[in-house]
Symmetry: C2
DNA sequence: CTACAAAACTAACGATTGTTAGTTAGATTT
DNA sequence: AAATCTAACTAACAATCGTTAGTTTTGTAG
């Protein structure tokens, strides 16, 4: 019973994330979600407590993973390029694991209401750590003297939007993807 | 009267785009929009015909500009790097002109309903032209032999999401931004 | 000053929203 | 067999949605 409850609950979360990606949080009704799961809307409430909570759970779960991951990477004692490759690799791994959740995180975070501050904290912490890695690399001479903000924006945007693209290119092996993205983002494309 | 009607209408469109960026199309009610403009919801309909039409107008206007722009760039008789710089420059210019509209285009296109096919046509045409420029550059040896799809994804994603970032960094002069992005995207950051 | 049109208003409509209450079928435990 | 529990159901709620109808205010041209 505990097992079946849990799997039903997780089925609801997964289905919700998928619908949120397709239409956005606000456009998905509890009746949409229920139909996709194969039950009536009221029955959802035997497993979840509110629409809000579904969104919060999806987003904060992923955001926490990212923040913990970059904390670990930033505190490693290696060169900047290695750290950047680890960041890229983490993004690819977590996105491949949960592309629908990543979509919700990117597009629906502003509907978090009660958990909004918590999310923004995690997001700021992540960005600060990432910027720290970049600054370190510029000081050590490993990175070019490009405008820091442009660089941070450019890399983070590419990584944050991987969810739009990874599911469609499943044939690309993860290792090739990591390698290809590292070359493109770090070494550029101009010969 | 024609003048005041037009400016009121355009005020509604601009305000709508701004609200769409903040909360997404579905979460913005006609009462929200009316309040932001300073009138009652019913009064909006003296100027516009439906919520749908506001979204369609905002998105298709920008999408058309982008497609026309890349058609012109692709048919130029210059090297690939020059064309790519022109594409980057166009993105920066159009985004700076209308960052809220760019947000709607990126996040709310799936709510276009009747005009969805038209939008997808424009989008596909744009992507094909862009991919064509990339392939040309690889054939001529101007670009490295990186996976084409990774490259197309990486550059287009960065450019499409400039709206998230340009308004906050207004102090950056446009020329610096173009130069900085070209270096970052084309030549990479690794020394 | 009058006439007319543009643009605001109030009121309300039918539909849909998230959610609650109360009930029931079926499985598990005692 | 009786009791309990889980997870589904139907029905309905108050609120809010986009939009329409009808009316009043406002500004301008003759």
């Amino acid at each position: 019973m505990k097992l079946s409850t849990l799997s039903r609950k997780q089925e609801i979360y997964r289905t919700a994330a998928k619908l949120f990606k397709e239409k956005g949080y606000s456009a998905v009704t509890m009746r949409d979600l229920a139909a996709a799961v194969g039950i009536k809307a009221a029955s959802l409430y035997n497993h979840i407590t509110s629409k809000q909570q579904i969104l919060s759970e999806i987003i904060l779960d992923i955001a926490t993973q990212f923040t913990q991951g970059i904390d670990a990477i930033a505190s490693q004692e290696t060169d900047t390029i290695t750290k950047l490759k680890a960041v890229i690799s983490q993004h690819i791994t977590l996105t491949a694991d949960n592309p629908y959740g990543m979509a919700a995180l990117n597009n629906d975070w502003m509907h978090l209401e009660g958990k909004l501050d918590r999310y923004l904290d995690l997001r700021n912490r992540y960005e600060k750590k990432f910027r720290g890695i970049i600054l370190e690399g510029k000081e050590s001479g490993e990175l070019k003297e490009v405008n820091t903000e442009i660089l941070v924006y450019s890399i983070l945007t590419t990584l944050r939007n991987l969810y739009l693209w990874i599911p469609k290119k499943a044939e690309l092996k993860k290792d090739e993807l990591i390698e290809g993205l590292c070359v493109t983002l770090l070494q550029g494309v101009e010969r």
